[in-house]
Structure formats: structure tokens, C-alpha cells
């Protein structure tokens, strides 16, 4: 059985949406889906090596006033951090993380080495669209 493909455009750099993305790709991994993630604009900032899981440097996409409650609940429910979700999903399935080159430059990160070790390559919009065209599931977060 050929595996289904998921293509995720990850624009967000917010901790709540990144957590949601992490949970969704975990589900995809459990189903052996092949996942391609294209990290765009704000997302590229969150993927910077010096940011990643440092939630203090990340905002909330929705209702910023609830950030403390959100982070506290994740902790007490033993929910993984967004980076841990991405790491685990990558261990389970064929999951590639592509960083948009322009987005990286906007946040002063030009080389692959400037991003957390989960990033596979730096790419352009053409790669995203050709992956999106082939995917069975397309998401934009």
C-alpha cells in the first residue's frame, strides 16, 4: 500500500499553533503518511536554533492573555513541546522539514545550520507548490 502524503505550509511562529501542528503531524506519522513541511515566514523564526522550544520568545496566535495558562496546562497534562512533537514524528515516519530561504533571511538565519537540527534543507516556493500538488492532504497553519 503506497503511503499517503501530507503537505503542511507552516506559516505560524506561535506556540499554540505550533503545538497544534505538532499534534497533527504526530497523527500523520501514526498513519505512516509521508509528510513534507514547508516552513514559511514566522515559522522560520521559531525554527531558529536560538528560539525553538524557548517559549518565552514565542507568542500566542490566539488570545495572548492566556499564554501562561496554556503553557501551564501543557505541562500538567504532560504534553510534549512543539519541537518534541516534530522530533518524534520525524523518527516515526518519512518527514522532511524545508525552510523557506527568504523567510530565513528575514530573521537573520541564512544557513541550514542556523536552524534546529530537524530542518532538512532550505528551499523556495516551487518546491512547496510541487509537493502541495502531489499531496493527499494539504494544510496551512
Amino acid at each position: 500500500m503506497e503511503s499517503k502524503k501530507m503537505c503542511l505550509g507552516l506559516f505560524t511562529g506561535s506556540v499554540d499553533k505550533l503545538t497544534a501542528a505538532g499534534i497533527i503531524i504526530s497523527g500523520a506519522a501514526a498513519l505512516d503518511m509521508k509528510v513534507d513541511i514547508y516552513v514559511l515566514l514566522q515559522g522560520a523564526r521559531a525554527f531558529r536554533k536560538d528560539i525553538g522550544d524557548d517559549a518565552g520568545q514565542l507568542q500566542m496566535a490566539e488570545n495572548p492573555a492566556l499564554k501562561a495558562e496554556f503553557m501551564e496546562s501543557l505541562k500538567s497534562l504532560k504534553v510534549k513541546t512543539w519541537v518534541e512533537f516534530f522530533r518524534e514524528a520525524k523518527e516515526i515516519t518519512d518527514l522532511k522539514i524545508h525552510i523557506c530561504g527568504l523567510a530565513g533571511k528575514i530573521w537573520g538565519a541564512e544557513k541550514l545550520d542556523d536552524f534546529i537540527d530537524l530542518a532538512d534543507d532550505i528551499c523556495g516556493i516551487g518546491a512547496y507548490l510541487s509537493s502541495a500538488e502531489e499531496a493527499d492532504v494539504n494544510l496551512f497553519i
Binding site: 500500500m1 499534534i23 504526530s26 497523527g27 506519522a29 501514526a30 498513519l31 504532560k78 516515526i92
Partner: protein, 83 residues
């Protein structure tokens, strides 16, 4: 399967995912299924309400046979047979 039949099953593998929230139990099941042989039975323990919907759906997609769920106090025992 009836509750009685489920109670009589002998699982080759018991995955205790009661300490984790969604998607923890599903991922634990996914990892553990690789450690048993086709035809063997796996039991997943989860305190997460969503898991009792997730695992049957996951079984359908992956071709495993979902056998049923027993509700205990505060958690579920979910049984499946590896294809």
C-alpha cells in the same frame, strides 16, 4: 467482541499510555505494533477519551483488526489484532 470475550483475551503486548494525552496513546500504539507478530493481540491502556475513537480509526487505516474496548474506572482497555 463482547466484553466477556475481550476479558478472555491474552495480549502479547500491553501498552500503558495512561500517563499521556492525545496524541500520546496513538503514538505509543504505533511504536509498539512493530514489536509484535501478525495475528498477535495488543492491548492499549489510555485515560484519554479520544483514544477510544482514534485507535479504531487507526486500525481501519492500517489494516489491523480492532477487537473492542473495555471501560475501567478512569481509563480504557483497547484491544486490537495486528494484521
Amino acid at each position: 467482541m463482547t466484553a466477556e470475550e475481550l476479558l478472555g483475551l491474552k495480549a502479547s503486548k500491553i501498552v500503558d499510555a495512561r500517563g499521556t494525552a492525545c496524541p500520546g496513546p496513538l503514538l505509543e500504539a504505533k511504536k509498539a505494533i512493530g514489536t509484535i507478530m501478525p495475528g498477535e493481540i495488543m492491548e492499549v491502556l489510555s485515560a484519554d477519551e479520544g483514544t477510544k475513537v482514534d485507535i479504531p480509526k487507526w486500525c481501519t487505516k492500517q489494516g489491523h483488526e480492532y477487537l473492542g474496548t473495555l471501560e475501567e474506572s478512569g481509563y480504557y482497555r483497547i484491544f486490537l489484532k495486528k494484521s
